[in-house]
Each structure stands twice: as C-alpha cells, then as structure tokens.
Amino acid sequence: MTKASRTIAIARKEFLHIIHDPRSLIIIFVMPLMQLILFGYALNMEIQNINLAVIDYSRTPQSSHLIEQFEGSEFFSVFHYNGKHSDIENIFLKREAKIILVIDQDFARNFQRQTKTSIQILVDAADPNAATIIKNYCYGIIANFNLEHGGQISQPFDVEPRIWYNPDMKSAYFFVPGLIALILVMISAMLTSLAITREKETGTLEQILVSPIKPIEIIIGKVFPYIIMAFLDGFLILMMGMILFKVPFAGSHFLLILLSTLYIITALSLGLMISATVETQQVAMMMAISATLLPTVMLSGFIFPIRSMPILLQYVSYIVPAKYFLIIARGILIKGNTFFQLGFQTLALTLMSIILLIRTLRKFSLNLEK
C-alpha cells in the first residue's frame, strides 16, 4: 500500500469540501479582496488637504514663495490668518487648522544676508500620529525650499530628511505586506483548525482513524489544500496591491515564495496545535482568532509600530509569527532585501514551526491513545 495514495485521498476530499461550500470560497477569496480595498481606501494613513493657517509678518516675495511651496503640495490647503497673534490658540480650538506657520518680520532680510533664519511651526498634536506625519511633511517642504534657494531656515534639530524606499510615504507599501501576513495566517491557522475540529464533531475523524492511515498522512493531506489556498490568496493580494496601489517588488520572487512557505508552515502548525487541543469548531474558532487575528493586527507592527508599544507587549511581539513575516515581506518587496539580511527572521520562524510541530504531533498521537 502506498502512503501517497492515502494522503492524496485526504487532500482530494478536503478540496471537495472547499469547492462544494460557497461560504468557504467567499471566506478564502472575497474576504481578502474586501480587506485590501478597506485598508487601501478607507484606512488611508496618508493625510491630505490638511488645513494650514499662515501668519506672514514678513510679506515679502521670499515669504510668499515659501507659502507657495506649501500651497503647491497636495498635503496642505493653505489660508491666511488675519486675527491677532494672541488669539492663535483659537485656530486649534475651533479646528480651523491643524498646523500654523508663522513667518517673522525679519525673514526676508535674514534670508538675503544668508544668515540663519527661523520660522515657527505649530502643530495640533491632539492626534499624535497625525501630528508626526504633518511635521514630517513640513520638513520635507522646507528642506526643498532650502535646497532651491540656498537658504538656511533652521529646524528644531538638524535633520535632512531623505525618505528612502518609500519617498512618497505611500501607506499601501506598508499595509499590503501586512495584509498578506494577516490573510496567510488566517487561512492557514483558522481554516485548518476548523477543518479538523469539524471532523471531530461529526465523528468522521473516527471513521478515518479506524483505517490503516497514519496520523502524519492525515495531517499532510488535510493541510495541503490550505497551503495551496494560502498561496493563491497571497498571490491575489500581492497582484491587486501592485495593480491598484503600485506596490513595488524590489527583491527576489523566489525568496519571497520560499519565506512565505516557511511562514505558512508556522501558521499551519499553529492551526494544527489548536485542533489537537480543542474538540469543537466554536472553541477552535475563538482560539484561532485570539492566536492569529488579534496578535497579527495589534502586535506585529502591521498597524502600530512595535517600538512605541509598552515594553511588556514588545516582548510578547517576539512570539507573533507575523512580526517576522512583516519584516521579510516589506524587506523583499520594498527594499529588495536578500536572504542573509533576513537571516534572523528566517531562523525565528523556523524555530517556531519546529517547536509547534513537535508538540502537535505528540498531542495527536496521545489523543489517539486516550
């Protein structure tokens, strides 16, 4: 008796389950596209048309030119504030503007003398993330202005921003790899754990276990279709990301496929671990969501930077597989990272898979002897 034929029988049946059930097809193919569109258009992290109030005490061609630079940018919509300087806070309180630009009387004079000159930028930091982004936009514009005019508008600290890899700060570059990480882990971990616990619930797993098939053959046969689905999904999101949001592909295709496979294996091991532990689909679903969806969204650096988390959560993030895959995917797609530059991440995912798989196999065979 060949082992392969038994494994193929399991895999084939699993494909049939997916194909016969329109709901699972929707979960696998429509959900990722909806998320892509949601993240792409609704959760746009770029900020545009920020209201900017200008108080120009200089009123010179030089100051007008600086203002024009802001007006010319798609990020700002500029208006002149004519009120008293002492009432400046009202602009923020009434939410008339997020940022105020104050140009001193001696701006043009200093500028012509080529001595250091200052402008004042006030940013409403009620939303600190937005404030940081706005501040960075300003630095960019001022740096350009300095470059063009040889001027020296000093900034709070000496920065010369050169934004590499993603010069336009496109957030699509950021979330498309994140979405791939999320979808891959959900398909691999959640769907496999559901598929196995469903057979426990209906009693069909027992029917399979009275046949001469080995646990490892069941496991391989069960997960194989989901590996294929995960790949199709990853490919779908990447293609749509490249077409709709112009996400680049700087690195090696082969390397991305290789390391995605590793990540999928890690996620599958997690799903198998869950299904070896629980008996019902409902519990499996809850465990899968808390072990995949939440950490991947919250703790992987997908949306919130890990560096700005409380130190305890930073430690927790080390056991979130998506954290490593995000670095891998962003690195390969956007920076063109090579294998050796991703060595640590590869090692971390490999270790996680091995530990999870060993525990799962042990649990599976223990369950049979229960």
Binding site: R6, I10, H17, G203, V210
Partner: protein, 245 residues
Amino acid sequence: MIEHNKIAVRTNKLTRRFGKFTAVDQVSIEVKQGEIFGFLGANGAGKTTMIRMLCGLLKPSAGDATVSGFDVYKQSENIKKNIGYMSQKFSLYDDLTIQENIEFFGGIYGLTKEQIQSRKKTLLKEVRLTNVEESMTRDLPVGFKQRLALGCALLHDPLILFLDEPTSGVDPEARRSFWDLIYHTAEAGKTIFVTTHFMDEAEYCHRLSIMRDGKLIAVGSPGELRDLYHKSNMQDVFIEIVNGE
C-alpha cells in the same frame, strides 16, 4: 469458505479504565468467523468502549485481545486493514456526493481507482442503491445513508465488521432491510460484531453477550439465554439482567 471453527475475535480479561472509572472490566469473549455476535447492554454498560478497543481506537488498560489473529497492542495496523467500522452517527460526509464518499473511503484504505470502481458497482447493487452516485449525501433519507455507510465500511472487503448501534434513529422498515443486509454479509463469510439496544434485533444474532457496568453477565444464543433465565423473549431476559439479580 466459511471456517466456522476459526476465531475472529478473542479477548482475555480485557479491561479499560478512565481514571477511577472502569468502563470495561475483565471481559473475555470468543467470536467465531462468520458469526453475527450481538453486544447488548444499557447505555454506559461499556459496549462502545469494547468496540473502540477492538478497532484500535483506544488502548486497553489491561488484558489481551486478538482481532483476526492480530494483537491489539502490537499489530493494530494489520487489524485496521482487516476490519470495517460503522458508528452510531453516520460517519459519511454530508457535503460530498455518494460517488465522492466512496472514492474517499476507498482511497484511505489504499485501493486503486480500478479496485474502487469495481467494488463500487457490486456494493451499490448489494446495498440496493443505484443511479444515486451523483446525489449529495445530505439529500438522502436516513435509511439510505445508513446502507451507504455500511457499503463504505465494506469497501475494502474486511473480514470483520464492527457495527456500533448502527440502527439508532432509523424507522423499523429500514432497520428490517438493514438486517437483511447484515445476514447477507455474514453468509458471505464475514464476522459481524454488533451492539444494539433493540431487543428484536438481538433475536437476529447468532450469539449474544450482555454487559452491565462494564462486566460481562451472560453469553449464549438467544434461545440459550431465554431458557437460562426462563423467559419467553429477549426483552424480559434483558430487563432481568440489567436490573440485577
């Protein structure tokens, strides 16, 4: 080629404990090849645990057992090749067609495509299901599903068939035709090991064993048991045994 002297299943003081609870307590039985051997007992008497140990789904805590001559501790792989199993739930896939179910169960026993095709034809005729291969299993009436499950359990031509309350939830008419099938299968030389709590079904068995609280209380043909307990039907025998002396 029915060798009636050959032993299909033999257990010697077979025991299974779950923690402090003893589900099966030192049960010794012998089942001959070609026999329809009934296993009776109230719910929780240990029938299912007994079957699960013999099928290799559960390791015994103590005692010995051989199935088709193979040891349950060391040769479970060989046992699994030679037995068919059908549980109280119809363990077929509702969302697959009948054809797909048959191909799947043939596949996990390592049958080739040709073997599955030829077995499928004879089996569907045997269980009296024709022209339904493309139907979804969920659309079949319960009686049909149950016959199909039996067909799938027989696909790899096992020597011994374990049926765990195969007729629960089926109407009397369907039960009747199911038992016709069981007789037919036994005549072909297969050993049938069946648990039930229907007393009319008990009468159909060649030999019976009755369990209570994990212990084997009585073994014999329906006639022998009736005589032994001086009752006119199995129902009364069963009630007497289950309620205790």
